[in-house]
Symmetry: none
Subunit: 409 residues, 2 copies
């Protein structure tokens, strides 16, 4: 039997016109993939009955399960149930338990129930009604005789997620054969093309797991995806491939299943029991804000100081002028010495970016300084230059941490 | 003549399976709406040639302009150009200026160009090639004889946005009849429901412009949308309504068409020729990183210091303990005096958050301190508490800046 196909249809003019980001599509896509079901299309339509019907009919013609989000509310532009009832040729009938739950809700909050809210208790005849643990609008599973089904979920993400986990995941799991597990091997200092060349045979020949290379700002990654009957089996299938990628790419791999370069850095710092001080100029505070946005960052960032157009901050950073500091090492040594002596922080990162798109980074650890300078090609904007500078500084510091760790072994 | 229809097709398995959020669809949807063109469908497909072709053909059958994002990179799963060339029945031909630009890029960055990168310089025959000001992959406009067109844009958001603004918006504007102009009146210190009550008649009766209230974390806003034949006409239609909203909501309106509270603050600081110093503890650097992420932030942020678990930083911030500092005013005065004396920064913001979800903020300006304390309800997470603390600190500072400005008049 072929694997079952899911499809996602998100309904709402505010999504269609870009007023809000479509986080529901992402959530459902991740959940469907993890259940081991196929997913080939996502669509967004507005609150328009004709185009919604067109989208529902098309999706049901090519997929087994259509997950529809939004349009279940009480107002007249909430038309998802009407459209689905028409496509499945079922009348909408009052669902008494839903009506009682609605009335009970309004009694609890001591407000009169607006009349149009009764619409929320109407269900396509024969549908399975899904309780909403976080709100008032129920969801629905409407099946036809061929086993195709529309699954209607509310639009607010909190309600949708709770309902999916409680009702929809168990329903879909019956049709899933095995599950999917993806691992992300994250890479820095190699372009996507070069990385893909080094892994070409694995990418071309991979079946289970499959490999897919991607590029992101200032880095790249490889997704290794396996299908197994259990999480353990899928994980076991990925292991030799992940290890082979690490063997080939070496220290360019900064982590597997870590969220970001700064998260990998924070792990290394925690492992070494170290805190780092950051001083930066011309970066709009980017290095510190990336590290400090991590949960538990307080454990690894001692102090951060950033200055944009000040001539100096207590002598900790070189003035930001049209030229780079005469010596980035000197800038960092100054910073590290000053912070280290005054505050007892044993490691430091210093970054300077100037408005000629040049940057210098230096890191200080174990009494030693490493530094680099770089430049970004001229059409790129300053945000790009800052990202490059911070990625390079973090990567330089990562290499020093690994050197120190290896020396200790 | 009917209004022209656009449609959005985002290509990429990483989008389809929910690895990344679809910010490109949102950006394009907003831009298309502002151009006054219709938009009825958004679709996402993976890197699969058959399903991509199916989606391209369907979209071109019902829309005039199909904007396709992603799949223009150098690797073998970047197939958007191949699919579009097949649908339009055009061969892919080498575009020499693109090839020269690619080679020049690799010379600038002093890396050898991987061979597969030449694919990026192939163009569907007869296509208009769009220069990529932020990256290596060009974009394309491919028109057929009936005037339908596919517009191919790169996936990385920075590249897509720059290319859209430079090449695609001017192209689409030719086909737009009239345009849409939206203005955002941004509000703090009033909930969405209360704000909507105060504006109810305007919301119910508005036709051109229309009004829509929204809520966001720690603030609210009203979108005022007008349609006109020219930007000037649309703007003129919004003016009386925006003024009436400001008259009713008073100082709760922190800006019109500003991006954020910190952007409004930066405007006020620039207007007053002031710089501010920031010292914070327990916020993961949030206040500084929000202000410093603004373009040109260097003009207004003198220095920022943040510390998470250090006992003290040069006596500038009170230690972060289970209790708030005995006096938030004292903390801020200390910070302001220390920074002011040493660095000559004439204004300061100090924020402390503890792990009982309490916060204190103080601002210093014109030799005077204002302070407040607050607490967030217990189910909310620390990120929420930090946001509340920073919103309150920024709003307190905004009120002081306005007081000082009014006193000077």
């Amino acid at each position: 039997m072929a694997r079952k196909r899911c499809e996602i249809l998100c309904v709402g003019t505010e999504l269609l016109l870009g007023d809000i980001l479509n986080t529901n599509a992402r959530f459902l896509a991740q959940e469907i993939s993890q259940l081991g079901l196929d997913l080939y299309f996502q669509t967004v339509v507005g609150d328009n009955p004709r185009r919604m019907e067109e989208a529902v009919r098309l999706a049901l013609s090519r997929s087994d399960f259509l997950l529809i989000t939004g349009g279940l509310g009480p107002t007249s532009d909430d038309i998802t149930k009407d459209v689905v009832a028409r496509v499945f040729d079922r009348p909408l009938v009052m669902h008494e338990p839903s009506l009682r739950a609605l009335k009970a809700f309004y009694e609890t909050v001591r407000r009169p129930m607006p009349n149009n809210n009764e619409r929320q208790a109407l269900a396509p005849e024969g549908a399975q009604v899904l309780e909403n643990p976080q709100g008032t609008a129920p969801g629905y599973i409407v099946e036809d005789v061929t086993g195709h089904a529309a699954i209607l979920l509310p639009g607010p993400p909190r309600e949708l997620q709770a309902m999916f986990r409680m009702h929809v995941a168990p329903y879909l799991r019956q049709f899933s054969k095995g599950l999917i597990l993806s691992r992300m091997v994250r890479v820095i200092g190699l372009g996507e093309s070069r990385m893909a060349e080094m892994l070409e045979d694995l990418i071309v020949e991979g079946v289970n797991p499959t490999l897919a290379p991607y590029a992101r700002e200032g880095e790249a990654f490889v997704r290794v995806t396996a299908r197994g009957d259990s999480p353990e089996e899928a994980l076991r299938l990925t292991e030799p491939v992940v290890n082979e990628i690490i063997r080939r790419l070496g220290r360019h791999v900064y982590g597997v299943d870590v969220d970001s370069l700064e998260a990998a850095l924070a792990q290394l710092l925690k492992g070494a029991g170290l805190k780092v001080a950051i001083a930066e100029a011309g970066t709009a505070g980017l290095a510190a804000s990336r590290l400090m946005a991590l949960p538990g960052a307080g454990g690894v960032v001692g102090t951060s100081i950033s200055a944009e157009h000040l001539e100096e901050i207590n002598g900790l950073i070189e003035p930001q002028g049209p030229a780079l500091p005469a010596s980035p090492e000197a800038a960092c040594e100054k910073m590290a010495a000053a912070l280290g002596q005054r505050l007892g922080v044993p490691a430091g990162i210093a970054i300077t970016v100037n408005n000629q798109r040049q940057y210098a980074c230096a890191v200080w650890l174990g009494g030693r300084t490493s530094a680099l300078i770089g430049a970004a090609p001229s059409p790129r904007d300053m945000a790009y230059v800052r990202t490059q500078a911070v990625q390079n500084a973090f990567d330089l510091f990562r290499h020093r941490l690994m050197d120190v760790a290896e020396a200790r072994l």
